[in-house]
């Protein structure tokens, strides 16, 4: 009975926060408060056991990576890379598409993709403005960029929340995740880029004239004429980040948790670049998402302690006797719930169920976890609202006043993204399923 109430509270909270995003913090904290009250008073759960269910390591890693991202942003690394991309693209649409999506994929592998988007998009918009891109190309380009962000995030254990959750909870080691997920994400990204190129060649074909291209490149050169990377920030940042990365790889051998390593890395960086770090922590850290996830973890912890997630896993076992089929169903459910509720809630809820299935079904956990991460990535790419990068890109394009070659205001919204999103979802989900079925 208590378990049923907790499930209802959780689902209602997730639906309401998805319907009223402007009040999502209020909704999620109300949901957490109600869940904790029910679990503590009616379910006899102690507050300590609820606290213990929260993966604090994950929150520490998210905080630490946020600081790293902001510091790299201050060094103008992202903008400089984007300017380099514009130059290297020679003003050709197709190269703009390939280079910018590749750079987003690479940046999202290690850093916060929102920060990367915020700094790369203005440069991309400038080159698109100068070249006069068509509406079709703009839709294709931004859609591919969003999917590249999601795939980059899933490629490494520190790229995005689901992977951080897997590493932070000790479900999978840093190195194992990297070895399994990175090649898959690169492969899927390559396939999607190839398909985007084929689509562009068939549907768009329009390219800017030689004069427009030369002028666009000359303009970009002058608009960013004295734009240099701040090496005093970049070099210590890269040094500490590489050290942290190396420690994550050997975390199991040295017996340190990923959260502690992140603490060490960020602490060292704060000592070296204390002035910038102080300013970043005071003004730039995204505490909102960390608080959102904390409230969500409280709700999941209440549910896990009530035994309802074990019950769900047991029910799934009853219905699907074939473990492979069961894992596939879990992955598809995870993908769809991500599309509706976004990655955080989806992965936080599905992970305890997956853990039960892994222990009862005797399947290799690391394969299932990476499969789940790929499903979350597929779900994040399904709808524009599924991942935070989508609405951010939409708002940046709207505010930019970008005009298309057809002399209309450029549009990048839910419906513009939907066809690309469905396509990306199908491709990523299929490859995720193939990965799991082949490996189990």
């Amino acid at each position: 009975m208590i378990a049923a109430i907790l499930i209802i509270v959780m689902i209602a909270t997730l639906i309401i926060q998805a319907l009223i995003p402007s009040r999502k913090m209020l909704v999620i904290f109300s949901g957490a408060t109600v869940s904790i009250t029910i679990a503590a008073i009616l379910g006899n759960q102690s507050i300590t056991s609820i606290y213990n269910g929260v993966p604090w390591d994950v929150l520490v890693i998210l905080l630490g990576l946020g600081i790293f991202s902001s510091l790299f942003a201050r060094s103008r690394l992202f903008s400089s890379l984007a300017v380099w991309c514009s130059r290297a693209s020679q003003g050709k649409y197709l190269l703009v598409l390939i280079m910018f999506s590749s750079i987003m994929f690479i940046l999202s592998c290690t850093l916060n993709n929102l920060t990367a988007l915020l700094l790369v998009l203005p440069v991309l918009l400038s080159i698109l403005k100068a070249l006069g891109a068509t509406q079709g190309f703009i839709a294709l380009c931004f859609s591919l960029l969003i999917v590249a962000c999601n795939l980059g995030g899933a490629a490494t254990p520190i790229g995005d929340f689901p992977a951080i959750l897997l590493m932070g909870t000790g479900s999978i080691s840093f190195l194992r995740y990297l070895v399994l997920a990175f090649p898959m994400c690169v492969l899927i990204f390559g396939i999607l880029v190839a398909l985007a190129v084929v689509y562009y060649r068939k549907k768009e074909r329009v390219d800017a004239s030689v004069l427009e291209r030369s002028l666009a490149l000359a303009s970009m050169e002058k608009l960013y004429r004295n734009f240099t990377i701040d090496k005093t920030i970049l070099y210590p940042g890269i040094g500490v980040f590489c050290l942290t990365f190396a420690l994550w790889i050997i975390a199991n051998r040295i017996g340190l948790s990923p959260g502690v390593i992140c603490f060490l890395g960020v602490g060292l960086l704060m000592v070296i670049k204390n002035e910038e770090a102080e300013d970043i922590i005071r003004h730039e850290i995204d505490f909102e998402s960390i608080l959102f996830l904390t409230a969500l973890f409280f709700m999941v912890s209440c549910m896990a302690n009530s035994g309802v997630l074990d019950l769900i896993a047991g029910l799934m076992f009853e219905h699907f006797t074939d473990t492979k089929m069961l894992v596939c169903v879990l992955m598809i459910c995870c993908g769809i719930s991500t599309a509706i509720f976004s990655a955080g809630p989806s992965m936080a809820t599905m992970l305890p169920i997956a853990q039960q299935i892994i222990s009862k079904g005797n399947v290799p956990g690391d394969i299932v976890y990476v499969g789940l991460a790929l499903s979350v990535c597929a779900g994040s790419s399904f709808l524009l609202t599924a991942a935070t990068a989508g609405p951010l890109a939409q708002s940046i394009v709207e505010k930019s006043g970008l005009i298309t070659r057809e002399e209309r205001k450029a549009k990048f919204d839910f419906m513009t993204f939907l066809p690309f999103g469905i396509f990306a979802y199908v491709i990523i989900q299929i490859w995720g399923l193939i990965f799991v079925l082949v490996r189990i």
Binding site: R76, S79, P122, S126, K129, A130, L131, G132, S209, V210, L211, E212, S214, L215, A216, A218, S219, K222, L223, Y224, R225, N226, F227, G401, I403, R405, E407
Partner: protein
């Protein structure tokens, strides 16, 4: 390069070229943008192509045609500007702050570099610019401000500076924002109002700028820059 290939190179919709150059006009200034456009066209279609494009663009960007007729490459322009800015820099060195109305990167790049001890405030001539990008190209003594802040920055140690385009006798063109900036109230609070003259005479009416009659009444000093 024969006439046909020049014609095909220049066979573009002037609207698309203006769209491409618009952000540059906004963030680097009309004269600086005209120099970039001239240099680009010259490299692709030589002087003949530049003349043809200037005619096409005269309704959208008349200053470009004036630059083409002046036959000034960016490199030459930079050399001339560098040389002619010297007396201006000497004059400005005595002040603690300079308020510049409008952006002309070919001038401001040099000015900000050579006056490291002077605080330079820039009022953009365009309402929508990427402020972060504009500032990232200048040293730390440069700041962007709104036109409303102009009064508060006045004083005996402050000088106001703006651009005067294509002056013919005492008539010229200025960025529309300059009109507000050199109004009688503002003039009284600055010890000097300096005009930097860019190009002389004109064959086309600069419709995208504001005409300024009796120019010399508005500026205490004028320097011919280009």
């Amino acid at each position: 390069m024969n006439e046909d290939s020049i014609a095909s190179m220049i066979d573009v919709d002037p609207k698309t070229i203006f769209r491409t150059i618009s952000p540059v006009i906004a963030e680097l200034g009309a004269f600086s943008a005209a120099l970039i456009l001239y240099d680009t066209v010259y490299r692709l279609a030589q002087q003949e192509g530049a003349f043809q494009l200037a005619e096409k663009l005269s309704g959208y960007f008349p200053l470009f045609a004036e630059v083409v007729e002046g036959d000034l490459s960016p490199t030459e322009a930079e050399l001339i500007i560098e040389r002619r800015l010297e007396p201006v820099i000497e004059e400005l060195r005595a002040f603690s702050s300079v308020v510049v109305v409008g952006i002309e990167s070919v001038i401001l790049d040099s000015l900000s570099r050579k006056l490291p001890g002077v605080q330079i405030y820039i009022i953009s001539h365009f309402s929508t610019i990427d402020e972060e990008r504009v500032l990232a190209n200048f040293p730390s003594n440069v700041q962007l401000i709104g036109v409303r802040e102009i009064m508060g920055l006045g004083g005996t140690r402050s000088v106001l500076l703006s651009y005067v385009f294509c002056q013919t006798q005492d008539d010229s063109f200025v960025y529309p924002v300059t009109f507000r900036a050199i109004g009688p109230d503002v003039r009284s609070s600055y010890s000097q109002i300096v005009g930097l003259n860019i190009l002389t005479d004109y064959n086309r009416y600069l419709g995208d700028m504001a005409p300024l009659y009796s120019t010399s009444q508005f500026f205490t000093n004028q320097f011919r820059i280009v």
